[in-house]
């Protein structure tokens, strides 16, 4: 993705900034300067809104054939998350066994690297989600390699 194209959306991507429509009293993500449901009256009436970053899984999948740039994550979990304020978004669920993710689970946003243009290109950061409730992962400490610090 080109630098200006990414730069334009920095606050939307980094801080989950979307829009609040004063006419319909609804929230929108990503940011829109126009609410399709309210029509042209909404122009000028859309306020920036920072989402709390909490929501729940609507549906999910474990991706085995990774998207370009996501090969290092595979298999990884992609989900459609419904934010507590209403809007839905497509996002990666990280820091968990992808097979444990189920509809209805609570999630919260985290700031993560999304990708890079090339080995020496710029890095893209943005929002991904983690499960809010800790899922116990059984660790086999005995088999962990000894690392000298």
């Amino acid at each position: 993705m080109s630098v200006p194209r990414f730069w334009r959306e920095l606050d939307t991507r980094y801080n989950l900034i979307g829009s609040y429509c004063k006419i319909t009293k609804t929230y929108h993500y990503p940011r829109r300067s126009f609410n399709p449901e309210a029509g042209r009256e909404s122009i000028g009436g859309m306020e920036d809104y920072q989402f709390k970053g909490t929501g729940e899984i609507v549906t999910s999948t474990v991706v085995y054939q990774a998207q370009t740039g996501y090969e290092m994550f595979g298999p990884y979990c992609m989900a459609i998350v419904k934010l507590d304020e209403g809007p839905m978004m497509t996002t990666q669920i990280v820091d968990c066994d992808p097979n444990t993710v189920k509809p209805g689970m609570k999630v919260k946003s985290v700031f993560r690297k999304l990708g890079e243009d090339s080995e020496s290109g710029i890095l893209h950061y943005g929002t991904k989600f983690i499960l809010s409730e800790e899922i116990e992962i059984e660790e086999d400490n005995e088999n962990l390699p000894d690392i000298e610090v």
């Binding site: 549906t59 054939q65 992609m78 839905m88």
Partner: protein, 388 residues
Amino acid sequence: MREVSIIGIGITKFGELWDKSLRQLGLETGLAAISDAGITSKDIDALYIGNMAAGSTLQQEHVSALMADYCGLASQNVPATRVEAASASGGLAIRQAYMAIAGGFIDIAVVGGAEKMTDVSDSESSYTVSMGSDEQWESKAGATFASLHAMMTQSHMQQYGTTREEMSAVSAKNHYHASMNPMAQFPFTISSEAVSNSGLVSSPLRMLDCAPNSDGAAAVVLCATEKAKKYGKKSIRIIGSGQASDTLSLHHRKHLNQMPAIRVAAKRAFKSCGKKANDIDLIEVHDNFTISEIIALEEIGIFRRGKAAAKILEGETKLGGKIPTNTSGGLKARGHAPGATGIAQVVEVVQQLRGEAGDRQVKDAKIGMVENHGGTAATAVIHILEGE
């Protein structure tokens, strides 16, 4: 509004056509269609080209002029227009020509679709296909095109209890049909068990749930019905046409297991000819993934919502069944060359209505339907065709 007929068809074999370029494919299929129609290049008023991805796969835009030129129409300065709506490009190109003829602007148009998906690596062609969804807020977030359909499948399974066995039946049935289609990319049968045991692409979708990214081309000649009698072949009338759009992103839809654009396009097409779902003798639907065939049949109203998968498993959509679906083999087994797909679907229905479909002929086929969509059905195009 004037009536419009299809008077000629042409199609290449779909597959990995490494020895053929986009322009060769276009010429081959265009010539086949005008020969079939019994017209000459002098009769052509306009050219419409369905192509999704030449810019990203071949670094070639302006495909309309390219095709006109290499089909020998540049010296006549024939107007040529490229139509793009991801995988619905072909169906939409037909609709543009249909409207231009119905509106009285022109009499004869050639509509061609061509795509080269195998000149680039698998990962590049897969990324190109995902450009039909929202590149910024779906693809770049890590969602493959398959993963979006996988989430639709999860949602459909959760709400309606759709099973693995039912999904596999879609793919096995389409391969069975393709085994009788010499132009198919995969003209052989596969068992339902093979589909169920193929590798996971994006759970629960497996490799044999997914259509390939193919090379291929198809073309049709459209003519004002009042002038069609002049030309030799049996002409097939386009009696209904409908188009609709929806949000580009799946996550902006109210229901993740529905494709409302198909429902609306079908309603508009039915309304334009006064027909109903149970008047349809056969149908080609856009099965880029097995779930898409299931949802499309529900949206069009062939089966009630949540019931299509079970009916497919019972064999109602198989050749000889109540409503043969994807007798060409569908996108899964005939192959999926995005810009050509919507036109290849129409070619199949024309062959069926002419009674020229060989071993896969649907008995007494009078009315056929074609459903073609782009992205996760952010664009849907429906045509209803009637034989003589």
